[in-house]
Amino acid sequence: MSIGGIDIVTLAAMLMAASTPVLLAATGELVAEKSGVLNLGVEGMMIMGAVAGFAAAVATGSPVLGFVAGALAGALMATLFAFLTQIFLSNQVATGLALTLFGLGLSALIGKGYEGVRPPPTAKLDFGPLADIPVIGPIFFSHDWIVYASVLLVAVVWFVLRYTRAGLILRAVGESHDAAHALGYRVVAVRFAALGFGGAMAGLGGAYLSLVRVPQWTEGMTAGAGWIALAIVVFASWRPWRVLLGAYMFGGITALQLQLQAAGYAIPVHILSMAPYVITIVVLVILSALHRHGVQAAPASLGKSFHASS
């Protein structure tokens, strides 16, 4: 099936893989923001995950260890952010920016020796005969395990936030840190955990980018994916399933844009490459226009510093 030189099945199959890095990062950021902390350093954590994951996978020959290293690097960066914003009470916006600038620099420094190196391949899961079903097979059953894990992650986050005590505490901290503190919950500890999880997911997303999506290390390779993840959380009105929708929409646009480039349309490459960013802006605008007169979807304490005065 093909429309205008674009094969729809290939496009749909590409979509899931193209969305995965942003989906992971956005899901992590969602949890962090639900606890009331705005971490603008997603881009920095992602790129650190990308370089650390790549380096570890090349060194050990195991992509799985690469993903673990990527998640660890992201979590480490997030812990740095947590120390500054939760203990030293620094401004969250400024600290997030610092995290991104620092991450971009440090990753370039670490990645110096890895340009042009090929990482060990990550195998696709074998679904046997399922993968041979026409249309459905290539779209749903032709991916590696991280793709499925990322969808599972969304389900887990949704369940935990909605139905468990831990999720309730997390949301309470995010809605009113003073009330949560008065009830005896440890606001700072909860936020450390949420930020750490967010960082690990961003790092994992970055590692997926450098180990599977590209697969190569190049300086600044995240190219704004972290910022798009932040935009998707806003787009999703802080709801996990909408994060999935937003990430897949974004992935679809990226895949379509790449397919259009490959199909040899007479649109200049650089103009096509703008598309994901322009569409992100358009979607943000539509959403903020819709929410203008509705309820505020953001956690009430988002971006505010917490200092227990008693």
């Binding site: 620094s90 620092f102 971009l104 620099g105 992100t280 802006i281 903020s288 200092h307 008693s310």
Partner: protein, 360 residues
């Protein structure tokens, strides 16, 4: 156990001392980083901070200091006004590119003009390019409440792609033997932003940066608008009662920062860089954010911070040449500086008490 107790008023002493403490801490941490890279830490720090100012060939490097500090100070001076009001324009890099593109487009469009009016017209177009690009997040914020952080940042990537498109397409040098990049404005007298005194690095962009420092100082500390901006940042509710209109503030702050960034781009493309290429932008728009914070969002502080940050750029280049220090190490160094600054800032607003938790 260490406890923090909020000060009734921010400490005057620590307001001035934190940047200095942060720089010293960064030198130590940076030395550690350089040592891990197998370089002698003291030597590396000396090359970065001493060599460009007082070493051999220092007269050349002092000029380079102005060339690098000019755009940083100009952009940061504009950004700081917005940051004071709690308006986060982090897309200065994009506004910088658009200013450069707009002015270079004009110069190349009328090539080979000899008019004396070309350069002033380019200045106007540069400012306008940055301003209009910044109006996108400003108006979207005012009309729909869209986050200016995300929109201004997304527009950086759009501007970067537009820059590459222009460098490979419409603005490509027709006599460039197929190489990407525009004609060199340095060999186009009517459009060239030359040194005012040859070899000093002092070009119109540097002059504009100094003017911007003075202008923003007057605006922020001697004018009612500056007072409104500061109130809006520190107490938004009080500002509303005092008659501050948030929409106007957003448009003003983003417009000012955009125009300044556009100007910086214009002076860069017509002067030190000379050419529109896909790698024309080198991250001044992002480094300016560090400069603004290091300068405590105060115009005079930004002037000093811009010079210091320019020093790390040039010193970093020298360390790369003399010691083989990777260029990314300097980027890490600058990032660490911002971390230390933000961390130590706790001392400005809080008193640190050692010992048992104090009773409130």
């Amino acid at each position: 156990m260490i406890t923090l107790i909020r000060r009734p008023n921010p400490s005057k002493f620590w307001t001035y001392a934190t940047p200095i403490v942060a720089v010293i801490a960064t030198m130590f941490a940076g030395g550690l980083l350089f040592a891990m890279l197998g370089k002698h830490p003291v030597e590396a720090i000396r090359v970065i901070f001493w060599e460009p100012l007082f070493g051999a060939n220092a007269s050349y490097f002092r000029g380079q200091l102005l060339v690098k500090a000019g755009p940083l100070i100009l952009i940061a001076a504009g950004l700081a006004v917005g940051f004071r009001a709690g308006i986060w324009n982090i897309g200065a890099e994009g506004q910088y590119i658009m200013g450069a593109l707009a002015s270079a487009w004009l110069a190349l469009h009328v090539y080979p003009a000899e008019s004396h009016w070309l350069f002033p017209a380019m200045i106007v177009l540069g400012a306008l390019g940055g301003l209009l690009w910044a109006m996108i997040p400003a108006l979207l914020k005012v009309w729909f409440g869209t986050s200016e952080i995300l929109v201004s940042l997304m527009l950086v990537y759009v501007a970067e792609n537009l820059l590459a498109y222009m460098a490979f397409g419409p603005l490509k040098n027709p006599e460039g033997f197929g190489f990407p990049g525009s004609r060199n404005l340095q060999s186009y007298p009517a459009a060239h932003n030359a040194d005012l005194i040859a070899g000093t690095g002092l070009h119109w962009g540097v002059v504009t940066a100094f003017v911007a420092v003075i202008a923003t100082y007057i605006l922020m500390h001697r004018h009612i608008t500056g007072f409104r901006i500061r109130v809006a940042g520190e107490a938004p509710r009080a500002a509303r009662f005092a008659g501050v209109i948030p929409a106007r503030l957003v448009v003003f702050c983003l417009g000012l920062a955009g125009a300044f960034a556009g100007l910086a781009g214009m002076f860069e493309v017509s002067g030190p860089s000379g050419q529109i290429t896909d790698s024309f932008n080198v991250g001044y728009g992002f480094t300016a954010i560090i400069v603004a914070f290091l300068g405590r969002l105060h115009p005079i502080g930004i002037l000093l911070a811009g010079l210091l940050m320019a020093l790390t750029y040039i010193g970093g280049d020298m360390a790369q040449l003399m010691l083989g220090l990777p260029s990314a190490a300097i980027q890490v160094f600058q990032g660490m500086l911002l971390f230390f600054l933000l961390g130590f800032d706790v001392l400005t607003n809080f008193r640190v008490r050692l010992g048992r938790r104090a009773r409130a």
